[in-house]
Structures are given as structure tokens and as C-alpha cells.
């Protein structure tokens, strides 16, 4: 078990390395930070002073090492666009994105898994066909369009829910949460649905196809041949086997939520890391882009690791057995 964790962590290191290399390369070669920071008029002396200050005259690997050392401590320099420390900006926005992402993920799983199981078992009922049509549309709708349609219906026409911002938030030290105020919760509804819908349809289709595969296996056939009741077959044998691969893929999909948060935050002007990232891309604000990239890589790598561990815990075949019989 321990060696399993260690080997997985070792596998994650090259990913982080490559990502930090790319981030750093962006810093070093894209645009001219000196020009950006000093503006239009500057003297040669000012330029040289800044170059020395930023350490831009040192060799590549030294700069890279400094970059990584700084990154590990959370130090990414100043945003070109806002002239504030990047770390501060991200910390400010992180709670918004995280609360949104978690709510969306929760919704997607809570509704997607049961729908997938139902359509996998009762393949031809009209409810299944309805769910399937719904899921097909869900996969064909881009996230931003869902957001717009929801805004149109619930904000413009019905006026029930707000269409931008986060509502009132309560602060707990460094964290700001929207869960504890009524307006915070109302503001969370539309973005969470928008973000979660795509994931929901993906999860539903995944669970369904896995369920159908499992119901075709020999061991399910044998279970039927033994006269086991349908309930035991569907929710015992089939479901357990379905969830094993679903865990992996669903876990990886949840990484997609973080990516699509960018779009959702843009549509709803949700003050999270995604909105920050888009604004940075538009303004060529490299420090923020680089920091976001590294943070995201870390999150994904961690998600992968956790999913691997879960897989290991659930599937007995992965635990090399104590003794084999003949």
C-alpha cells in the first residue's frame, strides 16, 4: 500500500516538472516583462536596474530554480495588469471558485449517478428515453449557452434569481463563504447548475454504459441462473462493479469542472479564479497565467492520486493477495 502511494507520487513529479517548465518558459520568453512593468518611457539605467532586480540577467537554470523555489512558497510576483501580488489575488478568489465547483460536482454526482443507474437497468422505459434525450442535448450545449439560457429564463423573464456576482458573503478569517447568506445561496444556484449540467450528463452516460456492460457479463448471467432476485443483481452485483471504473473517470471529470468554471464565471461575473484567468489571458498577464497553471496542475495531480487510492481501496484485485490456492 505504501509503495503504491510512493510510486504514484513519483509519477506525478514529472507532470509538475513539465508544467513548471512551461510556466517558467512563459515568464522568460513571452513578452517583455521589463517593458510592461516600466511602461513607455524609461531610461537604459532604469531598465538595467530592473533587470538585475528581477534576476533576468542570470542563466536559465538559475532563474528556473528561483522560480520553482518561489512557486513552492506561493510567491509568483506581481500581476502585470493589477500590480498586486499574484498570490494575494488568487487567495482572494479561490473560495468563490471552490464553493462553486464543489456545489456543481455534488449536484452532478447526486443526480447523474442515479439517473445513469436507472437508464442502465430499465433501458426502454419512456423515462429512460427522456433522460437520454436530455443527456444528448446536455452534451451538445456549450456551458456558456446554458448559462445564458438560464439567465434569460430565471433572471430576465422571471426575475427570481440574480444573474451576476456572488451575493453577500460571510468571512471566516481568510475564507469568504456564500453558503451562509440567503442572497449568497440564491446567487449560487444558476452558476452551479450551469457548471454541473455538463458533468451531470457525462456522468449519467458513463454510469449507464458501464451498467449495461456489467449486466451483460457472465457473472450476472450466473447470478440470474442461481435465481437471485433482481434487486440483489441490480443493486448488489451490478452496481458495485459499475462504480469501480466510474470512480476513476468521474474523478477525472471533476477536473473538468475546474476548467469549465472559467466559462461559467465569465457568464455570471462570478469573482473566482476562472474569471481572473480569463482577464489575464486577454491582457497577457503572464504571472497570473503561470500561477494559475501551476495551481491547476497541482490540483489535477492530487485528484489523480486520490482517485487512484480510491480505486485501490475498492477493487480487491489490485491488492496483491496473501496466498493463492490451487
Amino acid at each position: 500500500m505504501f509503495s503504491f502511494i510512493v510510486s504514484r507520487i513519483l509519477q506525478a513529479l514529472p507532470v509538475m516538472f513539465v508544467v513548471s517548465l512551461i510556466s517558467f518558459a512563459m515568464f522568460a520568453y513571452v513578452g517583455d516583462p521589463v517593458a510592461i512593468m516600466l511602461g513607455q518611457d524609461f531610461t537604459e539605467a532604469q531598465r538595467e536596474a530592473l533587470v538585475r532586480d528581477l534576476g533576468l540577467d542570470k542563466p536559465f537554470f538559475v532563474q528556473f530554480a528561483t522560480f520553482v523555489a518561489n512557486a513552492v512558497q506561493g510567491e509568483f510576483g506581481l500581476s502585470y495588469r493589477l500590480s498586486r501580488p499574484v498570490a494575494e489575488l488568487i487567495a482572494e478568489r479561490a473560495p468563490a471558485t471552490l464553493e462553486l465547483a464543489l456545489t456543481a460536482a455534488f449536484l452532478a454526482l447526486l443526480i447523474g449517478v442515479p439517473m445513469g443507474v436507472y437508464t442502465g437497468i430499465y433501458r426502454n422505459s419512456w423515462l429512460s428515453r427522456f433522460f437520454l434525450t436530455f443527456s444528448l442535448i446536455g452534451v451538445s450545449l456549450p456551458t456558456f449557452l446554458i448559462g445564458i439560457l438560464l439567465i434569460l429564463t430565471f433572471s430576465v423573464w422571471l426575475g427570481w434569481l440574480p444573474s451576476f456576482g456572488r451575493g453577500d458573503v460571510t468571512r471566516f478569517g481568510w475564507w469568504s463563504s456564500g453558503f451562509f447568506t440567503w442572497s449568497g445561496l440564491k446567487a449560487l444556484v444558476l452558476p452551479a447548475i450551469t457548471l454541473g449540467l455538463f458533468q451531470l450528463t457525462l456522468i449519467m452516460r458513463l454510469v449507464r454504459s458501464e451498467m449495461m456492460e456489467v449486466l451483460r457479463t457472465d457473472y450476472v448471467k450466473f447470478a440470474r441462473a442461481r435465481g437471485l432476485p433482481n434487486r440483489a443483481i441490480n443493486f448488489g452485483h451490478a452496481l458495485k462493479n459499475t462504480l469501480v471504473p466510474v470512480i476513476t473517470i468521474a474523478g477525472l471529470q471533476l477536473g473538468g469542472i475546474i476548467a469549465f468554471a472559467i466559462v461559467t464565471e465569465t457568464v455570471f461575473q462570478w469573482p473566482g479564479m476562472g474569471l481572473l484567468f480569463i482577464q489575464s489571458v486577454g491582457a497577457a498577464d503572464i504571472p497570473v497565467m503561470a500561477a494559475y497553471l501551476m495551481l491547476i496542475a497541482l490540483v489535477f495531480v492530487t485528484i489523480n492520486l486520490v482517485v487512484d487510492l480510491l480505486y485501490y481501496a475498492v477493487d480487491p484485485r489490485l491488492r496483491v493477495g496473501r496466498g493463492k490456492g490451487h
Binding site: P14, M26, P142, F144, L145, G256, V263, T266, I278, M289
Partner: protein
């Protein structure tokens, strides 16, 4: 040709009304988009023909609608129907080109990795795995952002279209590579490949003429499904403002422009391009679904 119409595939195609309808719809969309310059009632980019007086006209079935502009006009008097047709053209172009790009890169890498094996395989798959850790939209955003920062503004506008195609294409190749690699590994051990090796054909020739035709079937399915995703990806990037240049608006760009008018009541400026997008992607996805089921040997 006759063999095609006799085959199982055609039979299952004609049996499913949904698939036939979506094929027809997809065809209409593609025809309308490709032939936009010929079919569109107006040219929304010809600044001379725009009448600001006609701005903000609602669709023809509403009170102040005008039959000349069946789907209404936007804030500059551009006809929505024509704008949508031209926009669909750009969306389709980018989506299609991106998929072709992904396929070329992915299939090549997959063939090389599967056939040559060893270190080449390990390296290529490692790269694919690292890229697969990230959702493709993020990769596309990143590439687009980096290029945008690296190029001066004017150059960027000129090549923006290619950058978008490149970004979306690059973000999707690992899927193809992995599938093709898997199939290649299977085919490599089959007798016809070994026979070709014994005859002395070069690896390149074997890969191209013998292995490739046999691994194309799943590639076709992935490519069709990817077309839907590519179109959506382009729409998303354009909506976010980092996609195609404003001079060649796609459906995503149109939606973004229209978004500003949502609250003032001119909903049609954003909704109609949205509907067009949904219809196009939906029909492509339905076709892809049907193709996947039809080509899946286990379901036959």
C-alpha cells in the same frame, strides 16, 4: 457503391428515424454554411449595405418585425439570418479543420508509438498522458493565450484563425493517439503484418498501407464525436473573447455580442445564434452516436 447500400450499416441507418433526421439537418446546416455567400439574403459584412435605421428589429413574427429580416437585426442593422449563416461557416470551418489536425497528429503518433514500441512508445505516451491530465479546453486556452501574448497585436489578428484551429487541434490529439496505438499494438502481432515484415517492406510502408486501414474504424467514430466538441470549443473560446478575430465572427462571437443586449429585451440577437449552434452540434453528435453503435462489433 451498391455494396454500401446493401450493408448492415445502411440498414441500421435507415431504420433509425432520429439518425436520418439528424443527417438531413446536418446536411442542411453544412450546405447553408458553405454556401452562405450565395444563399444568404444579405451580406452582414458589407458595411455599405447596413442601415442603422433597421437596427434592433425583432423577428418577423413579432409586432415590429420586417419580412426582409426574418430573424431580426442586431445593434448595427445586420440581418441575423445572414450573420448566422456566415457565422456557422466560420464555426464549421474551424471545427472541421481542428478535427482534421487532431486526427493527423494523433493517428501518426499512435501508429509510431504502437508499431515502433519501446522507448519511442513510452515517451510519446507519457506526453499524451501528461496532456490528458488537463481538460482540453484548458490546453486550448493556454495555447491561445501564450500565442496572443507572444505576437504583436496586428500579426495576431491575421493569424488568429489558424491559432484557434491549432489550439483546439492540439488539445485533442491524445485521444486519437491512444486509440490508434492500442489498435496498432493488436494488429502488429497479426500474421499479415509479420508476413509483410518477412517480405521486407519498410516499416513506414507497412504502417501506412497495411495497419492504417485496419485501425481507421474507431478513428472515424472518435473524429465524428470530436467534431461536436471542436465546434463547441471554438464557440466557447470565441465567447470568452479569445477565439476567432472579430472580423470573422463565428456563432460564438455572435452570442457574445448578443449577450450584452439580453437585459434590454433584444433576446433574439443572442438566442438565434445559440439555437443554430445547438442544432448543428446536436445533429453531429447524433450522427456520431449512431456511427459508434453501428460500427461496434459487439452490439451487432
Amino acid at each position: 457503391m451498391k455494396a454500401f447500400f446493401d450493408s448492415d450499416i445502411w440498414w441500421s441507418f435507415t431504420r433509425s428515424p432520429v439518425t436520418v433526421i439528424s443527417a438531413i439537418v446536418a446536411f442542411i446546416c453544412i450546405a447553408g454554411a458553405v454556401l452562405a455567400p450565395v444563399l444568404a439574403p444579405h451580406n452582414p459584412f458589407d458595411l455599405a449595405s447596413l442601415q442603422l435605421m433597421d437596427a434592433f428589429k425583432p423577428p418577423v413574427w413579432q409586432a415590429e418585425g420586417d419580412r426582409a429580416y426574418p430573424l431580426g437585426t442586431d445593434d448595427q442593422g445586420r440581418d441575423m439570418l445572414s450573420a448566422i449563416m456566415y457565422g456557422a461557416r466560420v464555426s464549421l470551418l474551424v471545427g472541421f479543420a481542428a478535427v482534421v489536425f487532431s486526427t493527423l497528429v494523433g493517428v501518426t503518433v499512435g501508429l509510431l508509438a504502437g508499431y515502433l514500441g519501446g522507448k519511442v512508445d513510452a515517451l510519446l505516451m507519457r506526453i499524451a498522458d501528461i496532456q490528458l491530465t488537463f481538460p482540453s479546453i484548458l490546453v486550448a486556452l493556454l495555447i491561445d493565450g501564450v500565442v496572443r501574448a507572444a505576437l504583436p497585436r496586428e500579426t495576431h489578428s491575421e493569424v488568429a484563425l489558424f491559432v484557434v484551429i491549432f489550439a483546439i487541434g492540439i488539445s485533442n490529439w491524445p485521444q486519437f493517439a491512444r486509440t490508434v496505438r492500442g489498435s496498432t499494438l493488436v494488429e502488429r502481432n497479426k500474421e499479415y503484418v509479420q508476413a509483410a515484415r518477412v517480405i521486407g517492406l519498410s516499416p513506414l510502408r507497412i504502417m501506412r498501407s497495411h495497419v492504417l486501414p485496419n485501425v481507421m474504424s474507431p478513428v472515424l467514430v472518435i473524429a465524428t464525436l470530436n467534431l461536436g466538441f471542436a465546434i463547441l470549443a471554438e464557440a466557447t473560446l470565441s465567447f470568452l473573447g479569445v477565439g476567432v478575430p472579430p472580423t470573422q465572427p463565428s456563432l460564438g462571437t455572435l452570442i457574445r455580442i448578443g449577450n450584452d443586449f439580453l437585459f434590454s429585451g433584444e433576446w433574439w440577437i443572442t438566442i438565434f445564434p445559440g439555437v443554430a449552434l445547438i442544432v448543428m452540434v446536436l445533429s453531429v453528435n447524433l450522427l456520431g452516436d449512431w456511427l459508434r453503435d453501428a460500427l461496434n462489433p459487439r452490439l451487432r
